[in-house]
């Protein structure tokens, strides 16, 4: 009887296992494998030494991390109050749906929409002219790039935070108030620490993709913001140096692991208050 169940469970694992092997392990393995070859298909560690010895790549990495940090920061600053506010509303599922709605639209379309809004004759400049400031150069600035990237990432930050606020037992908040804590103290000592896992999940969901944004850097940033994503695109499409492109890919994967470890739960799970 037990053996049968065991075999069954094993059968259920097949689709997941296949998916994991084909679409997660194999591509990552291929990227790592490719990163050890130079243009002439000889085995080499040269790609890595080039990366760490080149001021260009190191500066680009710094750029990417800095912009990803800013995007994550702004996303977080907007998302946390938003999620908190949404949670207080009556028809919260409906309002949440409205937040998620933009993610159904392709990112390129959204980028083109912003080009229309930010251009010289666009809505934003019409407004600035209307209030008497006059048209400004909005497109191709760092600020517009961060603005659009933040806009795109916001739903991915709101959702996990919203869920963690939803999971928060109101009894803790009430207890804190009963024991004489002010609103601020309740937030700082009770609500925020208990919803921190949601913030961490949001940071993971926003920071990593922001590291390798590349279409936005060109369309909105006018290539005045250069990130590692731009370099990968160039290596795969223009120079066809797949080895170097893969090397940068591996470095992004390592960066991802570092962020995951830093934001991951250190304590073993189990005693989650509910």
């Amino acid at each position: 009887m037990r053996a049968v169940t065991k075999r069954r469970t094993w059968l259920y694992f097949i689709p997941y296992g296949l998916w994991l092997a084909l679409f997660v392990i194999a591509p990552v393995a291929l990227i790592i494998y490719q990163s050890f070859f130079d243009l002439g298909h000889h085995f080499t560690l040269g790609n890595y030494s080039t990366y760490f010895q080149s001021a260009t790549y190191l500066k680009m990495t710094l750029n990417s991390v800095w912009y990803a940090f800013l995007i994550t920061l702004f996303t977080g600053l907007i998302s946390y109050p938003t999620a908190y506010f949404l949670h207080q509303l009556k028809h919260r599922q409906f309002w949440l749906l409205l937040v998620i709605l933009p993610t159904w639209i392709n990112i390129l379309l959204k980028a083109y929409a912003f080009i229309g809004i930010f251009s010289q004759a666009g809505l934003a400049n019409q407004f600035l002219t209307f209030i008497g400031i006059g048209p400004q150069q909005i497109l191709f600035t760092n600020a517009s790039f961060i603005f659009v990237a933040t806009y795109i990432q916001i739903p991915f930050m709101i959702l996990p935070i919203y869920n963690s606020i939803d999971d928060l037992n109101p009894a803790f908040v009430n207890a804190s108030r009963d024991l004489g804590a002010s609103n601020w103290q309740t937030f700082r000592r009770v609500i925020f620490p208990l919803t921190l896992p949601g913030v961490k999940a949001g940071v993971q969901a926003v920071f990593i993709p922001s590291l390798s944004l590349f279409m936005l850097t060109r369309l909105i940033g006018g290539n005045k913001v250069i990130t590692l994503g731009t370099a990968i695109e160039e290596h795969f499409l223009t120079t066809m140096n797949w080895g170097m492109g893969s090397t940068i890919g591996v470095i992004l994967i390592v960066a991802m692991i570092i962020v995951m470890t830093l934001t991951g739960d250190k304590k073993p799970k189990g005693g989650a208050p509910r």
């Binding site: 243009l39 080149s54 260009t56 500066k59 680009m60 750029n63 080009i115 251009s119 010289q120 004759a121 150069q137 497109l139 191709f140 060109r218 369309l219 006018g222 290539n223 005045k224 250069i226 731009t230 370099a231 160039e234 499409l237 223009t238 120079t239 066809m240 140096n241 170097m244």
Partner: protein, 356 residues
């Protein structure tokens, strides 16, 4: 559960219907069968009425598949599994494909229209003697300006772009070879320079242009220029002709001191199968009347001398797209550089882009 089931059944039914319709449509247009030609071309790069005419004259149906970069086309042909009879690579890509043994030589005895081509556009460095390639269109790299914001006399040469007048006014096409090439011309060097010191100098020169650069973008340049977003752009003549059609204040200049001369060419890749159709098509496209019609539709410059003679006078004498002989003499064709040099160009160019 019942609703889910009916949803799934409904979706399957719609898919089935769509598949059936598309297949019956394809059958009626005759794309399956042996009288076909598989053309692998850039998007919107042939007059569709010519394809109908070709089918009427010869009976061959042309299937067109499109690509958006030379590299993407190369990868697809190199990986196999495709059956393209003709492809349209640019100059440097012809030599790259030739070296990778992806091309088949042209059988000149089966070509009837070879005499129609202008001698100066044949026998180029990327394919000496045109053993593998037949020129399709040619063009240049130049400056597009908007006469509402810039005087024509202010932008006749590359050096003019460095003028402090044009602060934050120029859009550059995002292409390492072209922008580095432009910089090399202003330093009086070859656009095919391979010396690292020269390339470094070219990057330094570009860095001094940075305050004037508004953005480094790709296809979007067309849209921006048509909408008066910027007064100046550096782009290819083919893109420029589309911009000019969209905004009558735009003009195109090829600096006479030198620029790039590029070619798109018809080649037979290793994957070809329908040789009769291929040669019928190559001959059809080199007939002056058809080549002229195509040039009229696309707006690029044709290397077909007899076809050019058939074009409207205004087009033929258009200095923007058919520059005078003195300018043509200074144009340079890109040579296919070794991967490590291409890498060097890209690294220097990336440095420039990060200089802002």
């Amino acid at each position: 559960m019942k609703r889910l089931l009916s949803l799934i059944v409904g979706l399957l039914a719609v898919c089935g219907l769509l598949a059936y319709t598309s297949q019956s449509l394809e059958k009626s247009s005759g794309s399956t069968g042996s009288k076909v030609l598989n053309l692998y071309n850039w998007g919107d790069y042939i007059d569709p009425t010519l394809l109908t005419k070709f089918q009427k004259e010869t009976g061959y149906h042309v299937n067109v598949e499109t690509f958006d970069s030379n590299e993407a086309m190369y990868t697809k042909i190199n990986q196999g599994g495709t059956h393209y009879d003709l492809a349209v690579p640019s100059d440097y890509m012809v030599s790259k494909m030739k070296r990778a043994h992806l091309l088949q030589p042209l059988d000149k005895s089966r070509l009837t229209g070879w005499g129609n081509f202008d001698q100066q556009f044949l026998n180029q460095s990327f394919d000496r003697g045109n053993r593998y390639s037949m020129p399709y269109f040619w063009g240049t790299l130049g400056i597009v300006y908007n006469d509402k914001m810039v005087k024509a006399s202010d932008v006749q040469h590359w050096d003019d772009l460095w003028s402090p007048k044009f602060r934050d006014k120029i859009m550059l096409i995002d292409s390492a070879r072209d922008i580095m090439g432009m910089s090399l011309v202003t330093l009086h060097k070859s656009m095919n320079a391979t010396d690292p010191q020269t390339l470094l100098a070219a990057e330094k020169r570009l860095n001094t242009l940075a305050p004037n650069v508004k953005a480094v973008v790709a296809d979007e340049i067309k849209m921006y220029m048509i909408q008066d977003e910027a007064p100046l752009a550096v782009d290819w003549s083919g893109e420029a002709s589309e911009m000019l059609a969209g905004n009558r204040h735009l003009h195109y200049v090829v600096p006479s001191e030198g620029s790039n001369l590029w070619f798109d060419n018809l080649v037979i890749p290793k994957t070809a199968q329908h040789y009769n159709a291929i040669y019928a098509f190559l001959n059809f496209m080199s007939e002056p009347k058809n080549a002229a019609q195509n040039a009229n539709y696309i707006g690029y410059a044709t290397p077909n001398k007899k076809a050019k003679a058939l074009l409207p006078k205004a087009v033929r004498h258009d200095r923007e797209f058919y520059p005078d002989q003195k300018t043509i003499d200074h144009l340079q064709v890109y040579r296919d550089l070794s991967p490590s040099i291409v890498e060097l160009y890209n690294d220097r160019y990336l440095e420039f882009k990060m200089h802002h």
